[in-house]
């Protein structure tokens, strides 16, 4: 059982800017009261408008970007009342953030290849991951498979491409890149030896993609991590509302669940039933 991260805190942060991304998403830029160190990719925040607008419970979001030491950006797709209230925040308004939460992706040595797989806004934790790899001199040993229904839902695609790693886009409607599902593109790339099977794989995205990826990774014996999202009450490990089932044969097998918020949201595929 993991504990509450030592750096987690509750902050009321000013919205410094908000910009559109794709047909249904926004980048929310929040100002921090002081400079923060770089955070592990894959950590998250619980966000809600500070004035009580929107639903009662805050929503979890991956930390998308730290473009300056005193800024945190979030990629927010409008899906329901909670995300709508956050996306409606204007510059100068205040967002309550409990942050940084969760564990983040396990650090890989620069010489080990890493393959990232995302669908839609599942890309959110991977900008920091790509930047971290580039900073370690491992950009060319890192691949990003970025899939979506259509090209306009490959949110902030140019920004991912600008980091320097190969970004392989796929769209289900064929409007950009590989025409089809992102896992079909990945399967072809593995079969042709374009990406190495001994890489560390990490996936984030809609639940359907994660389930398909989990089955795919198990079938091929890939070493993989998943960035999970469940209903969360608190985000800080106290409410027990976000259980992820554990594999009884795996390292967490002494209890049927772990807490997604503090034991994750990034979990090794071999430890969970998913």
């Amino acid at each position: 059982m993991a504990a509450l991260p030592a750096d987690a805190r509750v902050l009321d942060l000013p919205v410094t800017a908000r910009r559109r991304s794709g047909p249904d998403a926004w980048i929310l830029e929040l100002g921090l009261p002081e400079a923060w160190p770089r955070l592990r990719p894959g950590r998250f925040a619980m966000l809600a408008p500070a004035d009580g607008r929107g639903p009662f419970i805050p929503r979890p979001f991956s930390i998308y970007s730290q473009p300056a030491p005193d800024r945190l950006d979030f990629l927010i797709q409008v899906l329901g009342p909670g995300t709508r209230a956050l996306a409606a925040l204007r510059e100068g308004e205040t967002c309550t953030a409990t942050v940084p939460l969760g564990n983040g992706f396990e650090v890989q040595p620069p010489e080990r290849p890493v393959v990232l797989v995302a669908g839609g806004v599942g890309s959110a934790p991977f900008l920091l991951y790509l930047e971290e790899r580039a900073a370690a001199g491992a950009a060319e040993r890192t691949w990003f498979f970025y899939g979506a229904r259509s090209a306009d839902r490959l949110y902030d695609r140019e920004r991912f491409e600008a980091v320097g790693s190969p970004v392989r886009c796929s769209t289900e409607d064929g409007s950009l890149g590989f025409a089809g599902r992102v896992l079909d593109d990945l399967a072809g790339a593995l079969d042709r030896g374009e990406v190495p099977e001994e890489a560390r794989f990490a996936a984030c995205g809609p639940e359907g993609l994660l389930h398909a990826f989990a089955a795919f990774a198990r079938e091929r014996g890939l070493d993989a991590e998943l960035s999970l999202e469940t209903y969360m009450g608190c985000g800080v490990g106290v409410c027990n509302a976000c259980p992820t089932p554990t594999d009884p044969e795996g390292p967490w097998g002494d209890w049927p669940w772990v807490k997604t918020c503090v034991d994750g949201p990034v979990m090794p595929l071999r430890a969970i039933r998913f």
């Binding site: 504990a3 509450l4 987690a8 805190r9 509750v10 809600a48 639903p55 009662f56 419970i57 805050p58 909670g82 309550t96 409990t98 469940t230 209903y231 969360m232 009450g233 608190c234 800080v236 490990g237 106290v238 409410c239 027990n240 509302a241 976000c242 259980p243 209890w255 049927p256 669940w257």
Partner: protein
């Protein structure tokens, strides 16, 4: 200057603040409370329910949002009494606030087993008995709906400990006064009023309940007027101190409960909105009390009912 504004007491348990955590909303261990709350803000840390043996809890989804609140069915997930005593309780021994254990069980004997062990645990200043979780035994509400059952459990627990004993009552009853009186007569030191309201959300496309277990307990601001009414009814029925619980998310809410008769107020779901919520409410409470020129102790039970009589039934 502001010291003393917030002090209160639940029977013999002195509190620096009337604000407590609601059981199940701030964990078993002290980590989150120590991180987000200060001893001048939090009157006591009420812990998540412990049962004699491990309970793995209910299948997900365990939480679904509702208008002004949430429906949960966690199912009292906990690793059992032995785990709590060995691994958790020692972490609370240096806590900067009183710690209240919460005991659960499916039989009188199970309640007594936990209460007796809590009574011997130096980290715990008081014991709340959870007579009212709606999420075990399929929502069958075994203890909390019958005065005889409440009396039996409370009397057995009373005999097992000298520590302050709080009976946490259910709102899922037609009349709460007989239950409050049963707890008082059986030797409870205080009442906690109330637990969650049994509710249901349906995922109509799947033709299934939205929660994995089926029904759940409703909490949050949506239930606050119901909880306030129950606190007032208990205030009329018994002389015991009352710990209120139900939808508190601001200092104004706390003041309503104090005036209606509560000596202390638990904050639950709002801790999910912001884990430092109790600290924030405490700050607002100090400001409001200073403006009003009164202290928490002076407000408790100060409600003046129209016509000067006792609570009138509003139904009908």
């Amino acid at each position: 200057m502001s010291s003393g504004l917030l002090t209160s007491a639940v029977g013999s348990l002195e509190l620096r603040s009337p604000l407590l955590t609601g059981s199940g909303t701030f964990g078993h261990d002290p980590a989150a409370a120590l991180r987000f709350l200060g001893p001048e803000d939090l009157g006591a840390h009420v812990l998540k329910t412990v049962t004699p043996r491990p309970r793995t809890g209910n299948p997900p989804p365990r939480l679904v949002e509702t208008p002004a609140g949430l429906l949960n069915s966690i199912g009292l997930e906990n690793r059992g009494l032995a785990w709590f005593l060995e691994e958790v309780a020692p972490q609370h021994r240096e806590a900067p606030w009183p710690v209240v254990g919460n005991a659960g069980g499916e039989s009188v004997e199970e309640f007594v087993e936990v209460v007796a062990a809590f009574g011997a645990e130096p980290a715990l200043a008081a014991i709340e008995i959870n007579l009212s979780c709606p999420n075990v035994q399929g929502g069958a509400l075994p203890f909390s709906t019958s005065p005889e059952a409440v009396g039996e459990v409370v009397a057995a627990c009373r005999a097992a400990t000298d520590k302050p004993l709080w009976a946490k009552l259910s709102p899922n009853v037609t009349r709460i006064a007989p239950l409050a009186r049963a707890a008082e007569e059986a030797g409870a030191d205080a009442l906690t009023v109330c637990n969650t309201l049994l509710g249901l959300v349906v995922d109509w496309r799947r033709r299934r309940p939205a929660l994995g277990q089926g029904m759940g307990g409703l909490s949050g601001p949506a239930i606050r007027p119901v909880a306030l009414r129950l606190v007032w009814e208990c205030r009329q029925a018994v002389g015991l101190p009352i710990v209120a619980s139900g939808g508190v998310s601001s200092a104004e809410d706390v003041l309503q409960f104090l005036v209606a008769g509560a000596s202390a107020v638990q904050v639950g779901s709002y801790c999910f909105r912001r884990p430092d919520g109790i600290r924030r409410i405490a700050g607002d409470l100090r400001r409001l009390l200073a403006e009003e020129g009164c202290r928490v102790r002076e407000l408790v039970g100060s409600l003046r009912w129209p016509g000067g009589g006792a609570a009138g039934g509003g139904e009908g």
